[in-house]
């Protein structure tokens, strides 16, 4: 798909198309920023209402101006979709950072932008200095951003539903590296994705609420916390309403509820649709599910063994609740923690940190709310490696044909392998760059690898590096990594290519 595209300089009409489509993002962000006003009214946080009003109004004003002055009937092409996706994932968080900054919950506008990008991309790294004293409405907004941004995929959905033609909607999905194909109609696909998200949000909220009440929380707090954690759990985002993350509850049942919702979030939308449509056998036949479950069990076993041998966690329950839980949180790219961040840096053995970093880099399923390289690509690359080994062992005349099962039987073509390898390579390049920059700031290698993998894989686990006192350069670096990771790298390189072309040849 990418190879067929010729990189020609952007014209003014191209910019007009991109700007016009940004107006839709602006409108949708305006709606998203308006909704927390209901929470503010419910919890008597009337002083917070102006922040949301201002953020929402600015989004609508900007949307109206872009819509009016850049109105065009021109059709969106692939290059527009790629640039759109890259720009929209910066534009929407920038707007959403307005109420966060105005509320004074963050130390600086840069921190508010960081929080907003972390929210929209479903990462979960936070620079909030005092989450426990944050207003409920701002806290709700943080979680809601993750659900709408990553759980529902509001940017691509807004383009596809508000888009004028079917083609522009298909391109909107491709720009964000999401494959379409649940249903022939893209609008129907979008509705199904929203429906699946809302259904799992209801299930997750019920699970967390029941677990919370069972553990002694009052029903009101259990519901509010449950709703927020269901939003971020399904979005594999990882923001929580308390600074201690899930350790606040000291509860096995809350952690079990989190595991269920995290794994659901890390599974492919197509798989959800197939299973909900009655094809239950798909769960066990799907290549991605197999790879995901295998890696989770293998990594969980390795980390737990390592923690046990280091003498840190002596009981089976503690090995499950610390070792296995953190592996599942890392692999699904959620970022819920049951261990204080600083303990990952100071107490956990290096081997476990490296395994968690690897899990975060590999990530969950394609077409899911997870980040990382994705299980489908890992499975494809592994299968192609096995095929290569077979080829070298068999006679030259032998033909090795491979295929994999992913909702349907798919031949293992060179195109698929190449696509997977290019994206995996892109991730690794950014991972190395991020790690080196973090090391330059004086952090240890394994901690730098951990935090970089967390930002790039849109995970949100932290070993304590991410904090309000972190250097601005490192904050910007992690913001870039979260953004690039969300776009699966390619759209970023395309945008950089267009910017360089525009600088060299100008905009015609």
């Amino acid at each position: 798909m990418w190879g067929a595209m010729v990189l020609t300089p952007l014209t003014k009409e191209d910019l007009r198309i991109v700007g016009f489509n940004l107006s839709r993002i602006s409108y949708v962000t305006g709606f998203v920023l308006f909704l927390p006003i209901i929470v503010a009214i419910f919890f008597n946080e009337f002083d917070n209402i102006p922040y949301f009003l201002i953020g929402s109004a600015i989004s609508f004003i900007l949307g109206s101006i872009l819509y009016h002055f850049l109105y065009t009937q021109a059709e969106m092409e692939l290059k527009h979709a790629l640039v759109m996706a890259a720009v929209a994932w910066l534009f929407a968080p920038l707007l959403a950072s307005i109420p966060i900054w105005l509320s004074g919950s963050m130390a600086s506008p840069l921190d508010a932008c960081f929080e907003s990008i972390s929210g929209f991309t479903g990462t979960g790294l936070t620079l909030a200095p005092d989450i426990d004293h944050m207003s409920r409405s701002i806290n709700f907004l943080r979680h809601f951003l993750q659900f709408m941004g990553d759980g529902i995929g509001i940017i691509v959905i807004s383009l596809s539903i508000l888009g004028r033609t079917e083609m522009s909607s298909v391109l909107a999905f491709k720009g964000e590296a999401k494959e379409v194909g649940i249903r022939p109609s893209i609008v129907r696909t979008s509705r199904i994705i929203i429906g699946i998200g809302v259904m799992f949000l209801a299930i997750g909220t019920a699970l967390f609420t029941v677990a919370g009440i069972q553990e002694g929380l009052d029903p009101g707090q259990a519901f509010f916390d449950g709703l927020n954690h269901a939003m971020t759990g399904y979005a594999t985002g990882g923001f929580t309403v308390h600074s201690q993350s899930l350790l606040y509850y000291h509860s096995l049942w809350v952690e079990v509820a989190a595991i269920v919702i995290m794994i659901i979030g890390a599974l492919n939308f197509n798989l959800h649709y197939a299973v909900l449509g009655g094809r239950r056998s798909e769960i066990l036949r799907n290549l991605e599910v197999r790879v995901l479950l295998f890696l989770m069990v293998a990594f969980g076993f390795l980390v737990s063994s390592n923690l046990f041998s280091s003498g840190l966690y002596p009981t089976a329950e503690s090995l499950f609740r610390k070792g296995f839980f953190q592996v599942i949180s890392a692999q699904t790219t959620t970022g819920f923690q049951t261990v204080p961040p600083v303990h990952l840096m100071l107490v956990w053995p290096v081997f476990s940190i490296l395994i968690l970093s690897l899990a975060m880099l590999l990530g969950g399923s394609a077409n899911s709310t997870s980040g990382g390289i994705k299980m489908l690509r890992v499975g494809v690359l592994f299968k192609s490696l096995v095929n290569e080994i077979k080829r070298s062992l068999l006679p030259r005349s032998a033909v090795v044909v491979g295929s994999f099962h992913h909702v349907e039987e798919t031949p293992l073509s060179d195109k698929i392998i190449r696509g997977s390898a290019v994206i995996a390579m892109g991730y690794l390049i950014l991972f190395m760059m991020g790690t080196m920059l973090t090391v330059l700031h004086g952090y240890g290698l394994e901690d730098s690898m951990f935090e970089t993998a967390s930002a790039l894989g849109n995970v949100g686990l932290s070993c304590g590096i991410t904090s309000p006192s972190m250097s601005p350069l490192l904050k910007v670096t992690y913001m870039f990594l979260m953004w690039a990771g969300k776009l699966e790298v390619i759209a970023v390189f395309v945008l950089i290519g267009f910017i360089l072309l525009a600088l060299r040849r100008g905009i015609k």
Partner: protein, 165 residues
């Protein structure tokens, strides 16, 4: 007499094992405090009663930890810290665990004693009338601008119809 002085000295020597530590010190150097008696102090940010015991989550200078105490001690707490409340400040002594075997490996403190040393209070968060007025004006401007531009577009379409694609 000498024996009494010796006993008092011995008690004084043993007593410092319950040193005053900040939560940050406990969390940053957990191995050196693991299994030892420590003292703690912090603002209450959560109370979860479980039968005859309770979890009291306390917060101090950016660090938070759970304290496992008796339910009747937790019931003495009046204010839990959040956006509109300054939580009670509690202090006490207890045994610090880096990975508590009783509680699934959680880092926690099992309180020997826990008392409310400072009562919390309600934090007034009055609405800034000026800010609210400005925000309402901006919102009104957004609505008016959207309608005006929508009207302009409609008029333009009437004059020059867009080609149908």
């Amino acid at each position: 007499m000498k024996r009494a002085v010796l006993v008092i000295l011995l008690l004084l020597l043993l007593a410092p094992s319950a040193r005053a530590e900040t939560l940050r010190e406990l969390l940053d150097e957990p191995a050196s405090y693991d299994g030892r008696q420590v003292s703690f102090r912090g603002e209450v940010i959560g109370v979860i009663i479980k039968g005859d015991h309770a979890w009291v989550n306390i917060f101090d200078n950016g660090s938070a930890i759970g304290v496992w105490c008796r339910a009747e001690e937790a019931r003495e707490i009046s204010f839990i810290g959040d956006y509109t409340h300054r939580g009670d400040i509690v202090a006490g002594t207890g045994i610090f665990h880096l990975a508590c075997a009783e509680h699934g490996g959680d880092v926690d403190i099992h309180a020997i004693s826990l008392t409310v040393s400072e009562k919390g209070h309600v934090i007034e968060r009055p609405m800034d009338v000026l800010l609210f007025s400005v925000s309402a004006l901006i919102a009104l401007a957004a609505v008016l601008l959207s309608f005006y531009l929508w009207h302009l577009r409609k008029e333009r379409r009437k004059r020059v119809p867009w080609p149908f694609y």
